[in-house]
Symmetry: C2
Subunit: 203 residues, 2 copies
Amino acid sequence: MPENNKLTEEKIFEAATDVFLEKGMDGARMQDIANKAGINKALLHYYFRTKDKLFSAVFEMIAKKIFRKFAPILDDSLTLEEKIRFFFKEHISFLQQNPSLPGFLLNEVNRNPARIRKLLSSVDFEMIWLKLYNQHKDEFDKYNINMETLPQFMISMVAISVFPFAAKGILQGILDRLGIDFNQYIEERKEFAADFVIRAIKK
Amino acid sequence: MPENNKLTEEKIFEAATDVFLEKGMDGARMQDIANKAGINKALLHYYFRTKDKLFSAVFEMIAKKIFRKFAPILDDSLTLEEKIRFFFKEHISFLQQNPSLPGFLLNEVNRNPARIRKLLSSVDFEMIWLKLYNQHKDEFDKYNINMETLPQFMISMVAISVFPFAAKGILQGILDRLGIDFNQYIEERKEFAADFVIRAIKK
DNA sequence: GTCTATAGAAGGATAGAC
DNA sequence: GTCTATCCTTCTATAGAC
């Protein structure tokens, strides 16, 4: 039955996602994935041939899930400041629900840059840059942003949002010692980050 | 001869550092380390017993190297703005010379938080926080920083400095497509980051 | 499609000669 | 202290029955 097929393949895919997120490509074991999916190893290979192909499927899904979250930056109906507030609120909320994604993606991409290049090859960054710039051209004149510093600015936004999650393994320990709860810290970061960045670009 | 011992142990340690930085704990192979050190596998175990102990030695060295770089933030002779400019200039320069350290540390620490906890257990974060705050108490009144937002502010500084290196695997590809050289981008970031942060905290 | 059993290779670790 | 040879476990992957 196709019902059953779909279910098994999905079960495997979800189990693989869990295990790869926790252990990474190199640390993950096919046996663990099989156990978590409630099936045996042979079935993994029946559906995905090799560990590498299974990982690629999971990696691609996660990478797309992450990059999809950047779509709103091209939204036409928001002012620059609205967009900044919206970004931090939505993006950090997304990471709150998926705290292990940043570490996973950054690590695997450094280990194998080719994998992400293939995925990003269809994205027209030049167009995005231009569109974004044109959308806010008039506003930019009133802020400390121009075509040259736009990439620095964008990466700083992403850094401020993503870094606490990518560094969770260290940060959580430090915050504990200061009597600060990690989740509370992240919750407050949504507003802090927006205020911080908006002040940074105001002339 | 102790001369020779030292040399061999050092050769092993350096080779291990290279391989672990490139492949991570899980991806590294003792055989690769032996090859790179120009000796055989058995000698690795003679000097370091197990892969885990060898990795721990390398990890500890790297973690200390990284955290040592944060010492200047407690320097007494600099104003807040001077300190911020100094931090980005020095820290990004350090990362330019050690671009793979951030990805390595963040990943391994997420995989095994216990390892860094042990190292950080001797650090009195509360004292650092207090000292830092007291050093600039008067200045803070004139800036948008207080005792509550200081951790948010500090992490943002680190994020802006570290993230481009931690995300090098993605960022380099994107910058390439925009016709921007990664090294040039990083060089310009030293000043951009300082300006950005100083504006962000100015009232 | 799913299972058991196992091949085949690779990896960490050790024994023992020198 | 250094080497060769090898053990033993683990892991990916496949063969073959059902």
